[in-house]
């Protein structure tokens, strides 16, 4: 599949400006600027400890930033409760999936529409199981008994149940077999093709750049590189540090 090279130039949905954040007294992000436009896939790349998850968790309201601003569709959301942020349709699929292991596949999906999209629950259940037929086969099974790949499908399916306007995917390819990783990236592209904006947080540089419109590279809590994905894929510095050639 030919990667989309032109960004669908929508207005910015998510705008992060001069974000400073961390845990306790430790600063991890030292002034990060980032935007995600409507309909875009934006890749956020960086090695372990670069601050990717910190950025995520601050956007989603799990932590309160030390400084800077975050706005979603024009509204400031920095430090807002995670419930309010989900209400607005900014939904994260967390690293490590975080499915509810003691609940069935069906119940996991139902809780995806705990706050948003409750009225359209039956229709969205139908839609998610069309995207992931495997989940239908596991319908009454407890999520804790699913394989890693199935849990990842469930986590993404659960987030789609909330009718997200922007989806943050944190390391969706982590722990999956190479074949499943391929499938996962194809799937992300497919969800995006329906118009959903995606912030893709990944260590898997090659495949992320292949499907993203734009990308940011985070190093030591700062944006070290940014630009169209196609340009970054050719960047000598990036190739040296992440691809080894």
């Amino acid at each position: 599949m030919a990667p989309p090279r032109v960004s669908p130039a929508g207005p910015p949905m998510l705008e992060v400006k001069a974000l400073v954040a961390g845990y306790g007294a430790v600063r991890i992000l030292r002034g990060v600027d980032l935007t995600v436009g409507a309909g875009e896939i934006v890749a956020l790349l960086g090695s372990n400890g670069a601050g990717k998850s910190t950025l995520n968790n601050n956007i989603c309201g799990l932590f309160r930033p030390f400084g800077g601003t975050i706005s979603f569709e024009g509204e400031p959301i920095a430090g807002a409760a995670s419930t309010r942020i989900v209400d607005r349709g900014l939904i994260q699929v967390p690293e490590g999936r975080r499915v509810f292991p003691n609940l069935s596949v069906r119940e996991n999906l139902e809780l995806g529409s705990y706050r948003r999209g409750r009225a359209a629950r039956p229709r969205n259940l139908e839609r998610v199981t069309t995207i992931f037929p495997r989940l239908r086969e596991r319908w009454t099974q407890l999520a804790g008994t699913l394989s890693g790949g199935e849990q990842q499908m469930l986590a993404i399916g659960r987030s789609l149940m909330g009718e997200p306007r922007l989806l943050i995917l944190d390391e969706p390819s982590l722990g999956l077999s190479p074949l499943l990783v391929e499938e996962m990236f194809a799937l992300i592209q497919r969800i995006n093709a329906d118009g959903l904006a995606i912030l893709l947080v990944e260590q898997n540089v090659v495949q992320s750049l292949a499907i993203a419109h734009r990308a940011y590279v985070l190093e030591n809590g700062r944006v070290a590189l940014e630009g169209p994905a196609a340009t970054l894929a050719e960047d000598p510095a990036l190739r040296r540090s992440y691809l080894g050639h």
């Binding site: 309201g61 799990l62 995670s82 419930t83 989900v86 139902e110 948003r116």
Partner: protein, 291 residues
């Protein structure tokens, strides 16, 4: 050794008593399952609810304990919800151990406040149906115990259904195992912690209404039930609803047969024996997960 019919009567009596134990234990196990702490204030709050039933029965109010059930249960829910919101949620600073200490402190304050305001005297209420019996084979079954048994079963069944079917119930179960995942789907974690604590205390409110027609209340009357409830929860498996239900009936029968075979004074020894055996042989309890 007593005859078979007598033993059978003992079993039935134990089952009837077990209904209340199930109700008290379900509250304890729900709070444990969600908040991961033992609610040390459980007995004290039960005692408080029993006093509420007592005062509602006395003039000038004069409400029958069974009719008071919706009021006391609802009141207990609100009380538990507010205790979580104002006390536990505010002062735990995100650490489960602190919740343990707060509930322990709360129980000490409630017990002593009860001593101060209600004195240490034993109080009872006289309902006209207290002594009424139904004859079943060799057994004479007190009507209030039959009522309390079925009411407790009905309430536990309704609660179980609520936890299984409603969105709030599912969210509470989700929260019990995966707090961060719950936050990310937009579940208001602190609110549902308070709701869970409220439901746990509401069980005590219902139990108090069912107990008072045949039981007494004093500032220490919650203690007996806490030991039983704790044993029930450990026996059934910490955090397990089904475990609390089965455990409550086993404890009830054990206590009843223990009293029959060993006499009232030694009857309770069976409960302690079960507690020790479970800890030795199957520490995770009958319905508990591994580890």
């Amino acid at each position: 050794m007593p005859d078979l019919p007598i033993i059978l009567a003992g079993v039935i009596n134990g089952l009837l008593a077990g209904g209340i134990y199930v109700l008290v234990a379900v509250g304890l196990t729900l709070i444990y399952g969600v908040l991961h702490i033992i609610n040390f204030a459980h007995g004290s709050l039960l005692m408080l609810a029993m006093y509420a039933v007592f005062f509602l029965f006395k003039p000038p109010v004069g409400i029958d304990p069974y009719l008071a059930l919706p009021i006391v249960t609802g009141g207990a829910f609100i009380f538990g919800y507010l205790v979580y919101r104002w006390l536990i949620g505010r002062f735990n600073h995100g650490r489960d151990e602190n919740i343990l200490l707060i509930t322990l402190g709360l129980s000490i304050v409630i017990d002593n406040a009860a001593l101060m305001f209600f004195t240490g005297d034993i109080q009872t209420i006289d309902v006209p149906y207290a002594g009424r019996m139904v004859e079943l084979g060799a057994a004479f079954l007190p009507v209030p115990k039959i009522i309390s048994f079925f009411a407790a079963l009905l309430l536990c069944g309704a609660l179980g259904l609520y936890m299984a079917r409603s969105d709030t119930g599912k969210a509470i179960r989700a929260l019990a195992k995966e707090r961060q995942g719950a936050r990310l789907v937009g579940i208001d974690v602190d609110k549902l912690f308070a709701v869970s604590y409220g439901i746990g205390i509401a069980c005590l409110g219902a139990a108090a209404c069912l107990l008072m027609p045949t039981f007494y209340v004093s500032p220490t009357s919650g203690h007996a039930f806490v030991l039983i409830a704790f044993t029930t929860v450990v026996l059934g498996g910490m955090g397990s609803f089904a475990g609390a239900a089965v455990g409550g009936f086993i404890i009830g029968i054990t206590e009843s047969l223990g009293g029959l075979l060993l006499g009232e004074q030694l009857g309770q020894i069976g409960i302690s024996l079960i507690f020790i055996l479970i800890l030795l042989l199957r520490p995770s309890g009958l319905f508990g997960g591994k580890g």
